[in-house]
C-alpha cells in the first residue's frame, strides 16, 4: 500500500531579541509544542531533523533525548542555513512514505539575535579568500550583489523592492508573532538610509532568538488527529551547477538574476501535477526583499521583470501572509513552512486567506534552495 506523508502540527516559541534561554531549551519547547499541537505524544516520534549554520544550533540527538523520544530511528543534522526547511521537510516526508519512520519533528532553533548572528558570520569555503581580504563580508552584501544585477536585468528598481515591504509590513501589523510592528510607510521606507545599497533597513530581515517546528506523520494517521492534514504533494531541492564552496561563494555562478527557484520549478510543479495558477498561497523565503521578487519570477507566478507589478496589482495569490522573515523574524525559513501549514489548516488568525487549499513554500535565497507544494486534504 502506498503511504502519503502529511504535516499534522506546528509549534513555536516566542520570537525575541534576547531569549535568556539555551538553544536546546528553545528547540525542545517548540518541538514539544508541535507534538502537542498535533495531538500526539513524544513517544510517537521516531525521527528528528534539523539544520544549523556554523554550529549555531543544538543537534537532533539532544532534542530527541530531551523530548523523551523512546526509539529514535532517524536523527538528521544538516549543515545549512535557510535552504534547509523545505528540503528537510521533504526528505522526512519521503522517509515516512517509504516506511523508514512513522512520525518526525523538523525544527530550527537559535539565539540568532543574542548569540550567533548570521549577518556577521564568516563562511569557511574556498571562496573566502576572494571575499574577506577586501572586506566583502556579510550575507546581506551577497544578496545585495544579486539584487543589483537582478533589478538591472529585469528593468525593475527601488519601487519594486518597496512593493515587497509595503505588502509584508502590512501583514506583520496583524501578526502577533511578528518581531517588527509593521506598517512601514512609503516615506518611512525611502527616508531610511541604505544598509548595503540597494537595501535599506526595511529590505533586510530582523534576526531573532526562537524556535519553531513541524510534525509529520502518515496521512492515514493524520486523519485521526486534531487538525486537517496538510499533504506534502511535492518537494525539490536544487543547487544547479557551479554553486560554489559555501553559501557566500557565488564566484562561479553565472546568473545572479536567477536563483534555485528557476531550476527546481518544473520538477516541483511536475511532481505535484499542478501549475502556478493552481496555487492559493505562496510563502517565499525572504531574508531580503529581492528574494521575493526573484522567487515569484523563478517559480513562474509572473513573467520576468513583472514581480513588483504583480505584488502591486494584488491578484488572488496570497504572498508571505505572516509578514515574512522580513517582519515576523528570521528563523531561517522554518517559520515560512509553519505559516503555510497554519494557512492551509485555516488557523492563521487575522491574516487568514480566503482560499487556502494549496501552498508553495520556498527555502533559500541564492544558488541553492528547496521548495514544497503543500495541500490541505
Amino acid at each position: 500500500m502506498t503511504r502519503t506523508a502529511a504535516i499534522c502540527g506546528v509549534g513555536y516559541t516566542p520570537f525575541t531579541r534576547d531569549s535568556g534561554a539555551s538553544v536546546l531549551r528553545l528547540a525542545v519547547e517548540a518541538c514539544d509544542a508541535a507534538v502537542a499541537d498535533a495531538g500526539l505524544d513524544p513517544a510517537d516520534v521516531d525521527g528528528v531533523a534539523t539544520f544549523s549554520l556554523n554550529s549555531d544550533s543544538t543537534p537532533a540527538v539532544a532534542v530527541a533525548s530531551s523530548l523523551g523520544v523512546t526509539e529514535s530511528k532517524v536523527l538528521l543534522d544538516v549543515q545549512m542555513g535557510g535552504q534547509a526547511p523545505c528540503y528537510l521537510t521533504g526528505l522526512v516526508a519521503r522517509l515516512i512514505e517509504c516506511g523508514e519512520i512513522e512520525t518526525a519533528v523538523v525544527y530550527r532553533a537559535m539565539n540568532g539575535r543574542s548569540e550567533s548572528r548570521v549577518g556577521g558570520m564568516a563562511f569557511p569555503g574556498e571562496g573566502a579568500l576572494y571575499r574577506y581580504p577586501i572586506g566583502y563580508g556579510g550575507y546581506a552584501s551577497y544578496v545585495a550583489m544579486w539584487a543589483t544585477r537582478f533589478l538591472h536585468e529585469t528593468g525593475q528598481g527601488p519601487d519594486d523592492l518597496w512593493s515587497v515591504v509595503e505588502r509584508q509590513s502590512a501583514a506583520a501589523a496583524t501578526n502577533p508573532r511578528a518581531i517588527r510592528p509593521g506598517g512601514v510607510t512609503r516615506d518611512g521606507y525611502f527616508d531610511s538610509p541604505f544598509v548595503v545599497e540597494p537595501f535599506r533597513k526595511w529590505d533586510c530581515t530582523a534576526e531573532v532568538d526562537g524556535a519553531c517546528a513541524v510534525v509529520l506523520t502518515t496521512l492515514e494517521r493524520a486523519r485521526d488527529l486534531r487538525w486537517q492534514p496538510v499533504v506534502v504533494k511535492a518537494s525539490a531541492y536544487s543547487a544547479h551547477s557551479q554553486s560554489g564552496t559555501d553559501i557566500g561563494d557565488h564566484l562561479a555562478w553565472s546568473d545572479y538574476s536567477r536563483n534555485y527557484t528557476s531550476w527546481l520549478r518544473d520538477r516541483l510543479f511536475g511532481a505535484a501535477g499542478l501549475t502556478p495558477a493552481d496555487i492559493d498561497v505562496a510563502e517565499i523565503y525572504d531574508c531580503f526583499t529581492s528574494t521575493v521578487l526573484i522567487g515569484l519570477e523563478g517559480l513562474g507566478f509572473c513573467g520576468r521583470g513583472e514581480s513588483g507589478a504583480f505584488l502591486r496589482e494584488g491578484g488572488p495569490l496570497a504572498v508571505n501572509t505572516h509578514g515574512g522573515l522580513l517582519y515576523e523574524g528570521y528563523l531561517h525559513g522554518m517559520n515560512t513552512v509553519t505559516e503555510a501549514v497554519l494557512q492551509l489548516q485555516g488557523r492563521a488568525g487575522a491574516n487568514q486567506c480566503a482560499a487556502h487549499a494549496t501552498a508553495v513554500v520556498t527555502s533559500g535565497a541564492l544558488m541553492d534552495g528547496s521548495a514544497l507544494i503543500l495541500a490541505s486534504e
Binding site: 563562511f123 577586501i134 563580508g137 556579510g138 538591472h152 564552496t245 564566484l251 562561479a252
Partner: protein, 137 residues
C-alpha cells in the same frame, strides 16, 4: 563582523596560496586547466569543465566589465580590518580572461553595470588588494 582569521587562513593553505601570493607580487593569477584551458576562481582540486587534475598558474589581465556592484555602509557587514574603508563599494567583474572576480572599487566612486574597469594593486595592512576603477573602452 568578526575577523574571519580562521577561514581566510585555512583558505590560503595548500593549493589556494597562489592567489594571495600572486597579489603580493602584483600579479593576478588564476588556475587554468592545461587540458581544456578553463579558468576558475576559486581553485577547485580539479577542472570542473573536463575533470583534468592538471592545473597551471596563469597570470591574467585585470581588465573587465562590471557585472554587479554594491555599496556597504555598515560596519557589521565588513571584516574588522575594513571598517575604515566604509562606505565600501564592491564590484563583481567579468574579467576579459574568462573568470568572474570580486574587488574593491575606487573610493568615492559609483560604478555602473557594464562599465569598463581595470584593476590596480594597492597595499593595505600588510596585504595586497585589487582595486578596480573606470577604464577607457
Amino acid at each position: 563582523m568578526p575577523e574571519p582569521t580562521e577561514p581566510t587562513a585555512a583558505a590560503r593553505r595548500f593549493e589556494n596560496a597562489y592567489f594571495a601570493d600572486g597579489l603580493a607580487q602584483h600579479r593576478l593569477v588564476v588556475k587554468r586547466c592545461t587540458a581544456c584551458e578553463h579558468a576558475q576562481f576559486p581553485a577547485l582540486p580539479r577542472c570542473p569543465a573536463c575533470g583534468s587534475w592538471e592545473l597551471r598558474d596563469d597570470e591574467i589581465r585585470t581588465s573587465g566589465d562590471v557585472y554587479s556592484w554594491i555599496r556597504i555602509n555598515r560596519e557589521e557587514l565588513v571584516t574588522d580590518d575594513a571598517a575604515d574603508l566604509l562606505p565600501l563599494v564592491v564590484v563583481t567583474v567579468d574579467l576579459d580572461d574568462g573568470v568572474r572576480l570580486f574587488g574593491r572599487y575606487a573610493p568615492g566612486g559609483t560604478p555602473a553595470i557594464g562599465e569598463r574597469v581595470a584593476g590596480t594593486f594597492v597595499e593595505r595592512r600588510g596585504a595586497t588588494d585589487l582595486v578596480f576603477e573606470r577604464a577607457a573602452r
